[in-house]
Symmetry: C2
């Protein structure tokens, strides 16, 4: 079978691709495990150098998710599954509303229509976000069935795509599942335009001996999950029995709700004798405002019931990063 990952050359996309190659198979349309013979990573830019882990099954393709013909061409077989990760991120969406609508909404519709066109009801896993929740009426802990009143355009477009995934699935156009991601840590490489980008930086830069600048207060709270569990959750959600999801296809992934202070404490514990770069607080009201609009705490009853993974602890997430990247 073929697997398409949109946003496939991003960090989560590449980790997911590696996990799928290692796994080697997935549930195909109609049920039953099939070997993955093609893994297509679609993204707005692809790396100049082919990743070392990419074996002969991997195809890298650059293109624009808002181009319906380019997206339709990706999903050109009936034995196909799709992981739709392509997205403008939170901070980027606040700065460029039109881009967020074009990539996240029009792009989402293009992917959903391309799946519908196959008429084989492919499984589709959509990467949503807990940023779908927010606003003044938000409960202290947001559960899977909380009302979605997002306070970023990023969150609004994710909530809209959750509604579309539900309706396309209800109509039998595809078999959709939405995974609401908390903040993903620890991302290697450079910071990105996500308002939560600093959270990975908080671990990454000091471990590289570099100075890290934190744009929010020490008390800022955020639900987090390690990238291994994120990838495991996306695959587990793909593999879940369709009936187990019912008429609401969206599931908040498990998470750890911690403050910036908790993160720094964890880093220091795990780093042990390593010499860490300095952590400097440098408030940025734009980032603080976005983070304050997100859920302070998210429960994940549905994910637990579906057996989706959660790292052992925040410390374990940091240890995994050191093991995988340092």
């Amino acid at each position: 079978m073929k697997v398409v990952i949109t946003g496939g050359t991003g960090f989560v996309g590449q980790r997911l691709a590696q996990a799928l190659l290692q796994r080697g198979k997935l549930t195909a349309p109609g049920g039953g495990q099939e070997a993955i013979d093609e893994l297509l990573l679609f993204d707005v830019v692809i790396p100049a150098k082919r990743p070392a882990w990419a074996d002969e099954r991997v195809i890298l393709r650059a293109g624009d998710i808002s181009d319906s013909a380019a997206v339709a061409a990706l999903i050109d077989r009936d034995d196909v599954s799709v992981f739709h990760l392509a997205s403008v991120v939170s901070g980027g969406g606040e700065k460029d509303f039109d881009l967020a609508i074009r990539v996240n909404l029009t792009g989402g519709l293009n992917v959903f229509e391309a799946c519908r066109a196959r008429a084989c009801q492919p499984r589709l896993v959509f990467a949503s976000s807990i940023a779908v929740f927010g606003g003044s009426t938000m409960a202290p802990v947001v559960g899977d069935h909380a009302k979605q009143t997002p306070q970023t355009t990023y969150g609004a477009t994710k909530a809209i795509c959750e509604l579309l995934v539900n309706d396309y699935t209800r109509k039998g156009f595809f078999d959709g599942r939405s995974a609401r991601l908390p903040t993903v840590i620890v991302r290697p490489g450079k910071p990105n335009a996500a308002a939560s980008s600093f959270v990975s930086g908080l671990f990454r830069e000091p471990l590289n001996g570099e100075v890290c600048r934190i744009p929010v207060s020490e008390d800022t709270v955020m639900p987090l999950l390690g990238y291994r569990s994120i990838v495991g959750g996306l695959i587990a959600l793909h593999e879940a029995e369709s009936a187990a999801l019912g008429d609401d296809r969206a599931v908040s992934l498990p998470s750890f709700t911690v403050t910036v202070r908790d993160m720094i404490d964890s880093l220091k514990r795990v780093a042990g004798a390593r010499k860490l770069g300095e952590i400097v607080f440098q408030p940025d009201p734009f980032i603080q405002r976005i983070c304050d609009g997100w859920p302070r705490d998210a429960s994940y009853e549905r994910a637990t019931k579906l057996g989706l993974p959660r790292d052992a602890s925040l410390d374990a997430i940091v240890e995994n990063y050191i093991e995988d990247f340092l």
Copy 2:
């Protein structure tokens, strides 16, 4: 000032237009009441004969809401307000998914973008629906802050537009307000493609001495409101202080939760000595399924707080219809 009503030649659109002409003024962008000198009714078809109530302030224009240039041309002044009622209805949307997306989603985006382009933050009232609620996890009584898991494409597109109204308002592109309409009764004229169309027929046809066919069971429950209160609610929501709505701009209009049996009893009470046409139960699983997916009961705390009107009783709604149309 100018007022644009999309879907303006539909029943609610025409009643709203008449009420606005009579009222003569509305709160203009920037605050303060201004006289309405132009009332533009935009619809996919306009009546061959100009309505008798339409004075010189009224312009009727036929066009396609999914045509962005046609919609942009409607909103051509900075002293403008918009009532966005144009919509494919529930039963119609279930039969033609693509049409529902084109009219309700693309059409909505066209209206929202046209308002944004004015840069005067016009007030916009969007006619949403309690069909945004539904599904297996729906509470017995759905309040303003219930999660939206619609079970029709109609409801999904309305929920999506509520999210867009919230986000465009948050961004300061316009000053939006969404009114969630329950089933509107009593609509005169012919049945339409709404799954709830029979509810008006239940009163209208017997009062005309005609046979009425009810496609659902006598126990089917539905929240209803009379058209006078619907129109009054749309105008009151337009006139509400923006701050009173906060970061969630959507309000469920008041309603009466009654069974089909209650409706028939009310009709008989109000009709008195009139000879009524026969009421025949003729089950239609397509209609029953849609109605069963809607809320059985909706609360309306926010509407009450904002002072939005509710008819005195179901009997009073039927009496109004007789007074206005018979």
